[in-house]
C-alpha cells in the first residue's frame, strides 16, 4: 500500500479530471480496503458488500469534486464510515418494521472455539458503543491508525479521539464485566 501511494496520487488526479480508466483502476485498487473497513464496522460480509457498493456509487458520483490527492485514503475512510452509518440506521429502521411482523429473536449459534467466542463478544460490544466511540476504537485498534490519523478521518482533534477511546474502555469494562457473570 505504501509503495502504491505515488500511483494512487496519479490515478486520483487523473480520475478527478475525468479519466475513466484511471477511475476504474482506482476503484479496483481500493475496493478491498473499503470492503474490509465496511466489514469491520458492520460485522458481516453481505452488509459489507452493500456498504462497499454504496461507497463505490458515491465515489463515482463525487470523485470529480475531490481535492487533496494525497489524502484519498482519509476520504475513503470518511465515505465508508458514513455509508456504514447510513446502512446501520436503515437496518435499525427495517428492524423496527420487522418486529411488527415477527417477534422471533435471532439466536446466534454458539462458537466452538472459546477464544473466537471471546473475540466475538468483544466485537459485538464494540459495535454497540455510541457511534463516535465505536468509530474511534475501530480506527485506532482495528485499522491500526494513529490517534492523529483517526482524528483526521473523524474530523475532530486528537485529544477527542483519545477521550473517545478512554470512554469506550470504561464502558466496555462495565458491559463485558456484566456479561462475564
Amino acid at each position: 500500500m505504501r509503495a502504491g501511494t505515488d500511483l494512487d496520487a496519479e490515478l486520483v488526479e487523473k480520475a478527478v479530471s475525468g479519466d475513466r480508466q484511471a477511475f476504474g483502476a482506482l476503484v479496483e485498487r481500493h475496493y478491498d480496503f473499503v470492503h474490509a473497513v465496511a466489514w469491520r464496522w458492520s460485522g458481516n460480509v453481505s452488509d459489507a458488500e452493500d456498504i462497499a457498493q454504496d461507497v463505490c456509487l458515491r465515489l463515482g458520483a463525487a470523485i470529480r469534486g475531490f481535492r487533496g490527492t494525497s489524502r484519498f485514503r482519509t476520504w475513503l475512510y470518511t465515505l465508508t464510515l458514513n455509508a456504514a452509518r447510513d446502512h446501520k440506521r436503515r437496518q435499525v429502521r427495517d428492524h423496527r418494521q420487522m418486529q411488527a411482523y415477527a417477534s422471533e429473536q435471532a439466536v446466534a449459534a454458539p462458537h466452538q472455539d472459546p477464544d473466537a467466542e471471546r473475540r466475538e463478544v468483544l466485537w459485538v460490544a464494540v459495535r454497540e458503543l455510541p457511534e463516535k466511540q465505536c468509530d474511534a476504537v475501530l480506527l485506532v485498534y482495528a485499522e491500526g491508525l494513529s490517534h492523529a490519523a483517526a482524528a483526521d478521518v473523524l474530523g475532530c482533534s486528537e485529544a477527542t479521539i483519545s477521550w473517545h477511546v478512554h470512554e469506550a474502555r470504561k464502558r466496555l469494562k462495565t458491559l463485558l464485566g456484566k456479561e462475564a457473570v
Partner: protein
C-alpha cells in the same frame, strides 16, 4: 482491557465475493459515467476544474485554514441552498441540466466575502455554479442507479444466505422476506440524498483543500444534528417516548455506606403514565416507572405540622416487609404545612402552551383547555394569568391579565388553535419575559409549560435550557411541566426541566387528572413552603446491616451535598406530602446479604456502647425557606418506638403506600419482589383503601388487576 482492544486487530476481514466486487465496480463506473454525462453539459467548466485542482494541490500545504475559512463558510452557506434545489429538482423529475444551471446562475451574484486574490481560478463563484451543475443531475441519475442497486443488493442477500455464519443470522433475519419490497423503495430513497450529501461535502473540499475540513464539515451536512444522543438513536424503541434510565437502587451495606442522601420529589408524572399504559393494555416500560412518584401520587393524611414556623413534620414508621420475612420497612412520611387560603400569596402564572400540530388530539389541547378553565375558576381575582404559545413561532396570546377579567382569559384559552411545528426556545423566552413583567414580589411567580413531547429548544442545547431555567429560578420565577398525550413524550427532559426550575412534572391524561394536578394542587404545588429539601438517613450499624431505598433513583445526592446549600433539590408546596420507604435488613437477620467485615470487628464494640445504642437510624431533613438562601435542619432519631410488630397494625396510609411501592417495584422489575404476587398487592391495597373520597385508591387496585392480567407469566 487494553489487551482486549489489541485483539481487535487480530481479525482479518474476509474477502469480498468476486460477484459483489464486480457489481460494485460496475456501479462505480456507472456513477462515474453518469457524472461524466452531466459534466459534458457544462463542458466549459472542465478546464478550470483541472486548473483549480493544480492550484489547490500547490497551495494547500501553504494556505492555512484561516485564509480559507471565509470561502469555506461562504460555500457552507450556499450548500444548503444547493441541497434544497437538488431535492426539489429530483422530486419534480423535471429536465435537470438546464434548469439547474439557470438557477445556479441566479445564485451567483450572492455577496461573497471571500479572500480570493490568491486563487483566481478557484474562485468560490465558479465553484458554486459548478457544484450545483454537478450535484443536481448527479443525484438524479443516482436514483436510477440506486434502484438497480437495490435489486442487486437483494440478489446479494439471496446469494449469501447459503454461506452465512452465526453472526450474520441476526442481520439476515432483519432483511429477509417481509421487508424485501419495502427495502427496495427505501434504498432508492435514501441512497440518492446520501450521494448528494457526499457530493456536497466534497464541494466544500474543493474550495478548502485540506481534507480535514471535509471531515469537520461532513457530519453537519450528511446528518442533521440530532437533538438526541447516539445511544438513543440506535435503540429501537416501540414509541418515541424517552425516559431517563436509572437502575433500581441496590442493597447497600451499612458498614460501608451508613448514610443515604436524596432530594425530595413531589412529581407524579410516572403514575399517570403507568396508568395510561396499563389502560391501553400494555405493560409500562420499566424505565417509565418511578416508584417514588407512584407512591407520592396519592394524597395521604400524615400528621400535620402545627405552625408556620415548622414547615413540615416527619413521621417514621417501621414495619415488617410484606414481601420479605427477613427485612423491615422504614417508612418516612413528610407533610408540609398547609397554607390556609387566606394566607396564600398573590400568584403570577404564565402558561407556556405547545400548540404544535401534534397537540391536535382530544387528549391534548382540548383537555388542556378544560383543565385551564378549571384552574382559572380556582384562582383569586388579584392573581394574574398570561398565555404564550409556541409552535412555528412563539406568540403571546394573553398579556398578564388579572383573574377578575375572567371572560378575557377564558376567551384567550378558547382561541388556542393547534398548528405548526415546535420552537420552544422563543416560547420560553417570551414566557419568562411576561413573568418578569407581572412579577409579584413575595408572591408566586411560575411558568407552567404544557407540552406533548419534545421541548424543541431550537438552536440552543438542552444544557443552555437548563441554565436558563436555573437562572430564572434564582430570580424567583419557577417552572412546572404538564405533560400531555402519548407517543412522543420526552419524560427525561421534562423531568430535568421541572427539577431545575423548582417545579413539578405532572402527566395529564384525563380531566380528572387535570383536576387533581392543576386545581387541587394549585393550592400546593405553586406555593412552595420550603425549597431545596434534602433528606439524609444515617443507619446505625449496630442495629441495621443493610438498606435499600425504594425509588428516588433519579434523585440521589452525594453524602457531602446534604450540607452544601449550593446543591439544588426538590420543593415542597403547601399541604404536600412526601413519602420515602427504605427496606432495611436488621442485624442478624437471615436476609443479610453482605457478610460482616472481618476487620471491622475492632470498631464495633465502641458503637454499641455509644449513647445512641437503641437507635435504628437518624433522619435529617434540610430545607430552605422559599425566599431564604441558608438551609435549616430538622432531625429525628428512629428507634424501636417507631416500630409496629406487624404490617396490619400500621396506619392505613402506611399500608397503602407500601402496596403502591410494591406495585411500582414489580413494574420496574425489582427481583426482590418476584415472589410477591399482584394478588397480595391487591389485598394489601384493598385493606388499606380507607375512605378514598376521590376514588384514587380504587383506581389503583384496578390498575394492579390490569397489570396482573397483562403480566401473565411474570406473575
Amino acid at each position: 482491557m487494553s489487551d482486549d482492544f489489541e485483539r481487535l486487530s487480530g481479525l482479518t476481514p474476509p474477502m469480498a465475493s468476486p460477484e459483489a466486487r464486480a457489481r460494485a465496480l460496475a456501479v462505480a463506473m456507472q456513477a462515474f459515467d453518469a457524472a461524466e454525462e452531466n459534466s459534458a453539459a457544462t463542458q466549459g467548466s472542465v478546464r478550470p476544474v483541472r486548473q483549480s485542482s493544480i492550484f489547490n494541490r500547490i497551495w494547500s500545504p501553504i494556505m492555512n485554514r484561516k485564509l480559507l475559512a471565509g470561502s469555506a463558510l461562504a460555500t457552507l452557506l450556499v450548500v444548503p441552498a444547493a441541497a434544497f434545489l437538488t431535492l426539489e429538482l429530483t422530486r419534480n423529475g423535471a429536465p435537470f441540466g438546464e434548469r439547474a444551471q439557470e438557477i445556479a446562475l441566479k445564485e451567483k451574484p450572492a455577496p461573497q466575502p471571500t479572500p480570493k486574490p490568491a486563487l483566481p481560478a478557484a474562485s468560490p463563484e465558479g465553484d458554486l455554479a459548478r457544484v450545483q451543475d454537478e450535484t443536481a443531475p448527479g443525484a438524479a441519475t443516482d436514483q436510477s442507479v440506486a434502484e438497480q442497486k437495490a435489486q442487486a443488493a437483494d440478489q446479494a442477500a439471496a446469494v449469501s444466505e447459503e454461506k452465512f455464519n452465526a453472526d450474520e443470522i441476526a442481520n439476515l433475519l432483519n432483511r429477509s422476506g417481509v421487508n424485501g419490497a419495502k427495502r427496495k423503495t427505501m434504498e432508492s430513497e435514501t441512497v440518492a440524498p446520501a450521494a448528494e450529501a457526499d457530493a456536497m461535502a466534497n464541494s466544500v473540499a474543493r474550495s478548502t483543500a485540506p481534507l480535514s475540513a471535509v471531515g469537520g464539515a461532513q457530519p453537519q451536512i450528511t446528518y442533521l444534528p440530532a437533538p438526541v444522543t447516539e445511544e438513543k438513536l440506535v435503540a429501537p424503541p416501540e414509541n418515541r417516548e424517552r425516559f431517563g434510565k436509572a437502575d433500581s437502587n441496590p442493597v447497600k451495606s451499612v458498614a460501608t455506606e451508613p448514610v443515604s442522601t436524596f432530594s425530595v420529589d413531589v412529581d407524579t408524572a410516572s403514575y399517570a403514565f403507568v396508568r395510561r399504559s396499563l389502560m391501553e393494555g400494555q405493560m409500562p416500560e420499566r424505565d417509565a416507572v418511578r416508584v417514588e412518584e407512584m407512591v407520592n401520587y396519592f394524597p395521604y393524611d400524615w400528621p400535620r405540622p402545627t405552625s408556620v414556623t415548622e414547615p413540615f413534620k416527619a413521621t417514621v414508621t417501621v414495619t415488617p416487609t410484606p414481601w420479605n420475612g427477613g427485612t423491615r420497612l422504614m417508612h418516612v412520611a413528610i407533610k408540609g404545612y398547609d397554607v390556609v387560603p387566606a394566607e396564600a400569596p398573590k400568584a403570577n402564572l404564565v402558561f407556556l402552551i405547545d400548540v404544535s400540530g401534534s397537540m391536535d388530539e382530544p387528549d391534548k389541547l382540548p383537555l388542556l383547555k378544560s383543565a385551564f378553565r378549571l384552574l382559572v375558576e380556582k384562582l383569586k381575582p388579584e392573581d394574574t394569568v398570561s398565555i404564550v404559545t409556541y409552535a412555528g413561532n412563539a406568540g403571546t396570546v394573553l398579556e398578564p391579565t388579572g383573574v377578575k377579567d375572567k371572560a378575557k382569559i377564558l376567551q384567550a384559552i378558547d382561541s388556542l388553535q393547534p398548528g405548526g411545528s415546535t420552537a420552544g426556545a422563543e416560547g420560553i423566552d417570551a414566557a419568562y419575559a411576561l413573568a418578569e413583567k407581572a412579577f409579584v414580589k413575595g408572591g408566586v411567580n411560575r411558568v407552567m409549560l404544557a407540552t406533548d413531547g419534545d421541548f424543541n429548544v431550537g438552536p440552543s442545547s438542552d444544557d443552555d435550557l437548563k441554565r436558563l431555567i436555573e437562572e430564572k429560578r434564582n430570580g424567583g420565577i419557577f417552572l412546572s411541566v404538564l405533560g400531555f398525550g402519548r407517543g412522543n413524550y420526552n419524560d427525561a427532559l421534562m423531568q430535568t426541566i421541572a427539577q431545575n426550575g423548582n417545579g413539578t412534572a405532572a402527566y395529564i391524561d384525563t380531566l380528572a387528572e387535570a383536576q387533581k394536578t392543576l386545581v387541587e394542587e394549585a393550592g400546593s404545588s405553586p406555593f412552595p413552603i420550603a425549597k431545596d429539601v434534602k433528606l439524609q438517613v444515617e443507619f446505625n450499624p449496630a442495629a441495621i446491616a443493610g438498606y435499600r431505598l425504594i425509588g428516588y433513583e433519579t434523585r440521589a445526592l452525594k453524602r457531602e451535598d446534604f450540607n452544601n446549600d449550593k446543591v439544588d433539590a426538590g420543593d415542597i408546596g403547601s399541604g404536600h406530602s412526601v413519602t420515602a420507604i427504605y427496606e432495611v435488613t436488621p442485624k442478624g437477620s437471615p436476609a443479610v446479604l453482605n457478610d460482616d467485615l472481618r476487620y471491622a470487628e475492632a470498631v464495633k464494640p465502641a458503637a454499641e456502647a455509644s449513647p445512641h445504642g437503641g437507635e435504628l437510624a437518624f433522619l435529617k431533613i434540610r430545607y430552605k425557606k422559599p425566599d431564604g438562601d441558608k438551609s435549616e435542619l430538622i432531625t429525628t432519631p428512629v428507634t424501636e418506638a417507631n416500630a409496629v410488630p406487624s404490617l396490619a397494625e400500621a396506619p392505613a396510609d402506611v399500608r397503602f403506600s407500601v402496596a403502591v411501592a410494591a406495585f411500582g417495584q414489580k413494574l420496574s422489575g425489582v427481583t426482590a419482589l418476584n415472589d410477591y404476587t399482584y394478588d397480595a398487592v391487591i389485598d394489601l391495597a384493598l385493606a388499606s383503601r380507607g375512605a378514598d373520597p376521590f376514588g384514587y385508591r380504587s383506581e389503583f387496585v384496578n390498575l394492579v388487576r390490569l397489570a396482573k392480567g397483562l403480566g401473565g407469566s411474570r406473575n
